[in-house]
């Protein structure tokens, strides 16, 4: 029996945001990628509503090019916590001719996720989609609100964003609009890792150093996989690596690392000099890459 002053202010803030979502919206959903940020969201949601269950489902937009470790992890987590999981596949949108698969050396299904996401929002009439984006990830994300209103087309109008004052969150929307919600907006990569360590949260094994077949291109380390285009002269190497973000295999690069447990990962992040999204190939396309994708409805 003591007081609550030791509790991390970021955790208090995230829990507050989750409760606002549950109170202000009819059909919220938590976008779950299997990455560390969305796993952290699940833990925070558990805390926000205990002893009740998390009052909304998880939605996974599956590119079909995931790391198999992530999918196995996802299914176990959902089972253990008794959560509802909805999966929608990018492959279905490709088969229906709604989107065209990219080709060539840098082909990725990452940007194709947007169509499937918008379709799922329409199918289930979700009015709030909770995501694990953080403002420290990327410059365009630094301007994102905690409650970010999207129009019928899922688009983000960065110039007419609602001001967010104090901690008052305005979730009033019209039918057809939806709000993207970012409870860990104010966390940094190190904050997330430290939280995972402190809370002893289980995360997929690919976040820890492991031996993997990789090849090098443009100074980045790519997975050798059926889903990733590889030139003939790009030699396959076997190296100790780990991943700092877990997106689609075709757009997630690894880093050389010996950090095989959470403690050494946190230490490595503390010492690290490359930003997390520095290993995301999709951002490298152009300086304004993220902002453009966001305007189109990307998370």
């Amino acid at each position: 029996m003591k007081d609550t002053s030791h509790i991390n202010p970021l955790e208090n803030e995230a829990i507050y945001i989750f409760r606002e979502v549950a109170a202000q919206f009819e059909k919220p959903v938590l976008l779950f990628s299997g990455g560390k940020d969305s796993i952290t969201l699940v833990r925070l949601a558990q805390k926000a509503f205990w002893p009740a269950k998390i009052p909304f489902p998880l939605l996974h937009i599956d590119t079909g090019h995931n790391f198999p470790e992530t999918i196995a992890f996802r299914d176990r987590l959902v089972e253990e916590l008794g959560l509802e999981l909805i999966v929608r596949n990018v492959q279905d949108a490709i088969d229906a001719g709604k989107v065209k698969e990219e080709s060539g050396k840098y082909a990725s299904r990452n940007s194709l996720q947007t169509t499937t996401l918008l379709d799922a929002i329409e199918e289930f009439k979700f009015d709030a989609c909770i995501g694990g984006a953080r403002r420290d990830e990327e410059k365009a994300r630094a301007k994102e609100r905690i409650f970010s209103v999207r129009d019928d087309f899922g688009q983000w109008d960065e110039k007419s964003q609602r001001p967010e004052l104090f901690d008052m969150l305005n979730g009033q929307i019209e039918l057809g609009q939806n709000v993207r919600v970012f409870p860990i907006s104010n966390w940094t990569e190190l904050d997330v890792w430290s939280y995972i360590e402190k809370e002893n949260i289980e995360i997929p094994s690919i976040y820890f150093a492991h031996k993997r077949k990789v090849f090098l291109r443009d100074g980045l380390i790519w997975s050798h996989s059926d889903y990733v285009f590889q030139e003939e002269d790009e030699e396959v190497l076997e190296r100790m690596v780990r991943f700092r973000t877990v997106g689609d295999m075709s757009c997630t690069a690894a880093v050389f690392s010996e950090a095989a447990d959470i403690e050494s990962v946190v230490q490595e992040i503390r010492d690290s000099v490359i930003s997390e999204r520095g290993a995301r190939i999709d951002d490298k396309r152009s300086e304004a890459a993220m902002e453009k994708r966001k305007q189109q409805g990307y998370f």
């Binding site: 007081d3 002053s5 208090n12 004052l165 901690d167 305005n170 000099v273 930003s275 300086e287």
Partner: protein, 415 residues
């Protein structure tokens, strides 16, 4: 871990983005890839120094115009504290962004170009930070390298600024002056050899030394109920938990509380954070409270201590900062969101507009346009439970929502 939020204000070209970039660089918070991007861009533009402003100017539109047009959040940390900087623009037309950035901050940095000194914009920046009752203001007199690090110039600006201070409403606000060169790095993180006459702290030293309790606005305990948790499971069959964040002071098990608006009394039975029980809930913690009696409490209601009631009223007067292109006029209806409580409100009277440069008031105003600040009275359809803003920064503030567009169109600070 302590988190300090800082609002920044400066006119265009005062070097605000550069100052933030410099803070990131000198605290080694810029990663290699970001630094490389800055080096590449600086070279492209033909600069012979690193343009740190490129670290923060986020949106394409801004890069094209070379100005910051919205609130951006920047993060860095030291061994002592985590910092969140709200980078807000200095343009006249963006008062709204400045108010927004300042509303969540405990400290503010106002930039002044040492060559230009105190300008009309400076008045406005100071006025807003004072209006929002930011406890700690740092006046960074920048570009000292361009005035040969002149102590005389620094002292002149300081005394000009002190004249503004006489007019301020919130006299207890603490103000610290620091001569800096963001571009060259003087007195930002590292002490400058060019200002031997300056004996004070560097900007970062000052921020590191701020006591979080002292800079936070503490009031009396207010517990607005956000959400009622009723698990209806076998293990928690009768559990009825009131989830919310504690504002002001602390609440403890055994405290007699009054639920508003019903004015029903009960006592705090348990305080939970997740599945753990605590004796007390500290300020700003997101807890779940159970009561000894079964009383009817729902979202928007408030639990307060019985000897410490807020004002319960269907009308109030407030300083309003208007943020929408559509004007506010007498008779207009809006939703007032006071914390997590929403009520309908009608504009009863516009008393007077306040010029945000301290130059006076306009008592003939019948409507408010974007960026106007004014004294406005409202009538509500239901009572709210409020304190004066100067006594309670959280329970004394509200936002206005347009009933048609649903946009947040204004912010208010209750008298």
């Amino acid at each position: 871990m302590e988190v300090l939020k800082i609002a920044t204000a400066g006119s265009v070209d005062d070097g605000k983005s550069t100052l933030i970039g410099r803070l990131l660089y000198d605290t080694k918070s810029l990663t290699t890839d970001k630094l490389e991007a800055i080096e590449k861009k600086s070279k492209q533009k033909g600069y012979d120094y690193l343009d740190f402003s490129l670290a923060t100017d986020g949106l394409v539109a801004e890069r094209e115009q070379g100005i910051t047009i919205d609130v951006a959040h920047i993060y860095f940390s030291t061994a002592k504290k985590s910092y969140i900087i709200a980078d807000t623009p200095g343009h006249v037309e963006y008062t709204r962004n400045m108010v927004t950035g300042a509303s969540t901050s405990q400290a503010a940095i106002i930039l002044i170009d040492a060559r230009r000194g105190v300008v009309e914009q400076t008045n406005r920046h100071f006025f807003i930070n004072n209006l929002l009752r930011i406890k700690e203001v740092i006046v960074a007199i920048n570009k000292m390298d361009l005035v040969e690090f002149s102590q005389e110039r620094y002292e002149t600006i300081k005394s000009d600024f002190k004249q503004l201070m006489e007019k301020r409403d919130y006299q207890e606000q603490k103000i610290t002056f620091i001569p800096v060169s963001a571009l060259k790095g003087d007195n930002v993180v590292n002490r400058s050899e060019s200002t031997p006459w300056y004996k004070g702290e560097t900007l970062l030293e000052h921020l590191e030394g701020l006591d979080m309790e002292a800079v936070s606005n503490v009031g009396t305990p207010r517990f607005p109920v956000q959400y009622v948790i009723r698990p209806k499971t076998d293990d928690f069959h009768d559990f009825r938990g009131f989830a919310g964040k504690v504002y002001g002071g602390e609440l403890s098990v055994g405290d007699t509380v009054v639920a508003l608006p019903s004015q029903t009394k009960s006592r705090i039975k348990e305080i939970y954070f997740y599945d753990k029980k605590y004796h007390s809930a500290s300020r700003r913690s997101s807890v779940t409270i159970t009561l000894e009696d079964e009383i009817n409490v729902s979202r928007g209601d408030m639990l307060v201590k019985e000897d410490d009631l807020p004002t319960i009223d269907k009308q109030f007067t407030a300083t309003v900062s208007w943020m929408d292109a559509k004007e506010l006029s007498v008779g207009n209806k809006y939703v007032v969101q006071h914390g997590v409580h929403k009520v309908l409100a009608k504009v009863a009277t516009i008393h007077h507009k306040i010029y945000p440069d301290y130059s006076g008031i306009d008592d003939s105003a019948s409507s408010l346009g974007m960026n106007d600040i004014a004294q406005v009275s409202f009538k509500l359809n239901k009572p709210i439970f409020f304190d004066a803003f100067k006594e309670h920064r959280t329970n004394g503030s509200f936002i206005l929502i347009d009933t048609q567009s649903n946009n947040t169109v204004g912010a208010g600070f209750i008298n």
